[in-house]
């Protein structure tokens, strides 16, 4: 049953024009990034290529810029494709004939989660590999910790889609969109506050940042990914720029995110199980 709903969810996304528009825009983003990188590399190579420390610093900054906007894109895609996943069907009434079938409500939620997860993970992997691939081809710059970076990167859309799915079980589509987006902004601003706090050694700012990361760990995941990719034994350069990080969250944040994700998914099932339609 869960797979039937997952398949239907996946097909629904594929049936929407906006999905193809997003794919085209994503391709355009990668092309623009590639072109920008190409022209940047032409100048930077004059300094001695990827072995030059200054060149490495700029390449890593360009990569973090690409990753920052990629994260933003997958986050938006995750939120807007799932924001009306349940509420939209309740509002139009399409869910009525489905709920009356011999299907558990939890199967409906888990099926939708599975469908969106497959879609979002596929999209995110393409973007992640696209950005890193283009950077490597253009600059020869090899980031470290590709796999753990990918794990953090994939957890971001997964986290947002679960929160959005949960919100859609009890909020209207519009209210849910606002809520999830605000949470995402809180996470992002909190992350920046934490960075500034760490830099000037202000505990209050750091605590605000940590608290906001607990409410919405998406930015913490981004910083964890960027730190892993841009530093490490192969890349001793700590590239501080607005899109990078000097103070990464600990590994506990990944565990926390997974626990957060499961709890929110469980909450979505519980809420929907009791909801009048």
């Amino acid at each position: 049953m869960m797979l039937i709903i997952a398949g239907m969810t996946f097909r629904e996304v594929l049936s929407k024009k906006i999905f193809y528009i997003v794919l085209v825009l994503t391709a355009m983003f990668l092309v623009v990034y590639g072109i920008a990188l190409h022209f940047a590399v032409q100048d930077i190579n004059k300094w001695g290529g990827v072995r030059n420390i200054q060149a490495r610093l700029i390449f890593s900054q360009l990569l973090s810029l690409g990753l920052y906007f990629s994260t933003f894109m997958v986050a938006l895609m995750a939120v807007f494709s799932t924001v009306g996943s349940v509420s939209g069907e309740i509002e139009t009434g399409t869910i009525q004939a489905v709920i009356a079938k011999p299907l558990k409500r939890s199967e409906l939620i888990l099926g939708k989660f599975l469908g969106y997860t497959v879609m979002m993970l596929s999209y995110s992997i393409v973007i992640y590999l696209g950005i890193l691939g283009i950077t490597f081809i253009s600059t020869g710059y090899e980031p470290s910790g590709l796999f753990s970076g990918l794990t953090s990167f994939l957890l971001i859309p997964l986290l947002l889609l679960v929160v959005s799915l949960c919100g859609s079980t009890f909020l209207s589509t519009m209210a849910n969109g606002i809520m999830v987006f605000m949470l995402y902004i809180i996470g992002m601003v909190g992350g920046m506050v934490e960075q500034i706090g760490s830099m000037i050694e202000n505990t209050a700012l750091v605590n605000i940042g940590i608290l906001s990361s607990l409410v919405m760990p998406s930015d913490a995941l981004y910083r964890k990914m960027v730190f892993g990719l841009l530093t490490g034994p192969d890349n001793p350069v700590t590239a501080f720029n607005p899109f990078s990080t000097m103070y990464p969250p600990s590994g506990i944040m990944t565990v926390y995110t997974i626990a957060y994700l499961l709890i929110v998914l469980f909450a979505a099932i519980r809420i929907f199980n009791r909801r009048d339609i």
Partner: protein, 315 residues
């Protein structure tokens, strides 16, 4: 009993959906559930199919409590909204619903062909649902409800978007299913439709059932009398009203409703004794529509318009 409810009550916060609904629908019955908009008809149906949860009371469908998955396999449901995934074709929707009923591949395909034929959508099944007219979408919903060859078919306003021909076809289909021994629960505004296909009805008003029984029982004892009266005057009007007959005019005709045949000469006597010239007096077969209007007019607004505290206060 196919459906049995005891004191089924639903509150939406402090707004009443329906209250103390006690119903019994036996096997093979076509049961009509009548009421005005907002009286609580759809609330009951939604509770029966598991869309909403009762606040109190209990109900059984096919001998099992509400929400039982095995029982749901034997229920077909056409919602009042009949909205479906419009980006699918009619056939794809049928396949989706067949898979939700866990109907295996070949049997599912055969049944899909069969139900599409039944609702006259064959030939249209490979078009997207968004291109269907409302009537066609409702037919598609009916086809989806018929997919599992259900023992209980719950139809919420099944012909609301259909043209007269479509309505006739659905009526014929219901009668055909009835002769095949299926139980049908029909929510409808269309009293003539209910009168033709249903053998039992219940009337809901203010969230409560106010009358119920077989159509014959409900109509018995109520006779509508049509009169053509010369020199119809206020005295006749008042005298009829004083005796409790409440006359009303329909063009040149004067209409009254009496409880039994014995009252017909009394009516004639009142007219004649008060100076009226009685040209014609015809006892009419009382329609369900008249009975419905009569019952609904008594009282006033729906309880559903009141809040919980108002009702508890007046109880």
């Amino acid at each position: 009993m196919v459906i049995k409810t005891e004191g089924l009550t639903k509150w939406y916060g402090n707004k009443l959906g329906c209250r103390d609904i006690c119903l019994s629908v036996s096997e093979g019955q076509v049961f009509g559930f009548l009421g005005q908009n907002g009286a609580g008809k759809s609330t009951l149906v939604k509770m029966l199919v598991g869309l909403i949860f009762p606040t109190s009371g209990r109900a059984e469908i096919l001998g099992r409590p509400l929400g039982d998955r095995e029982v749901k396999k034997r229920i077909g449901f056409l919602p009042e909204t009949f909205r479906y995934q419009e980006w699918l074709t009619g056939y794809q929707l049928m396949k989706f619903h067949a898979s939700l009923y866990k109907m295996p591949g070949s049997a599912g395909r055969e049944r899909i062909e069969e139900v599409l034929q039944l609702v006259r959508l064959k030939g249209h099944e490979h078009y997207k649902i968004r291109t269907y007219s409302k009537g066609m979408q409702q037919r598609l919903g009916l086809a989806a409800a018929l997919l599992p060859d259900p023992d209980l078919l719950i139809l919420d306003e099944p012909t609301s978007a259909m043209d007269p021909l479509g309505r006739k076809e659905v009526r014929d289909l219901i009668l055909k299913l009835k002769s095949a021994g299926k139980t049908i629960f029909l929510n409808s505004h269309l009293l003539s439709e209910v009168e033709v296909v249903c053998d039992h009805v219940a009337l809901i008003k203010k969230g409560r059932i106010i009358a119920g029984g077989s159509i014959g029982e409900l109509k018995a004892g109520k006779i509508e009398v049509e009169m053509i009266i010369g020199n119809y005057n206020d005295v006749i009007n008042r005298s009829l009203a004083e005796k409790g007959y409440k006359p009303w005019r329909e063009n040149e005709r004067v209409m009254v409703t009496v409880d039994s045949r014995d009252k017909i000469p009394v009516i004639a006597e009142i007219v004649i004794n008060n100076g009226g010239s009685l040209y014609r007096l015809t006892p009419l077969h009382n329609s369900l529509e008249n009975l419905f209007l009569e019952l609904m007019q008594e009282g006033g607004e729906n309880d559903a318009d009141h809040c919980r505290d108002d009702l508890q206060g007046s109880a």
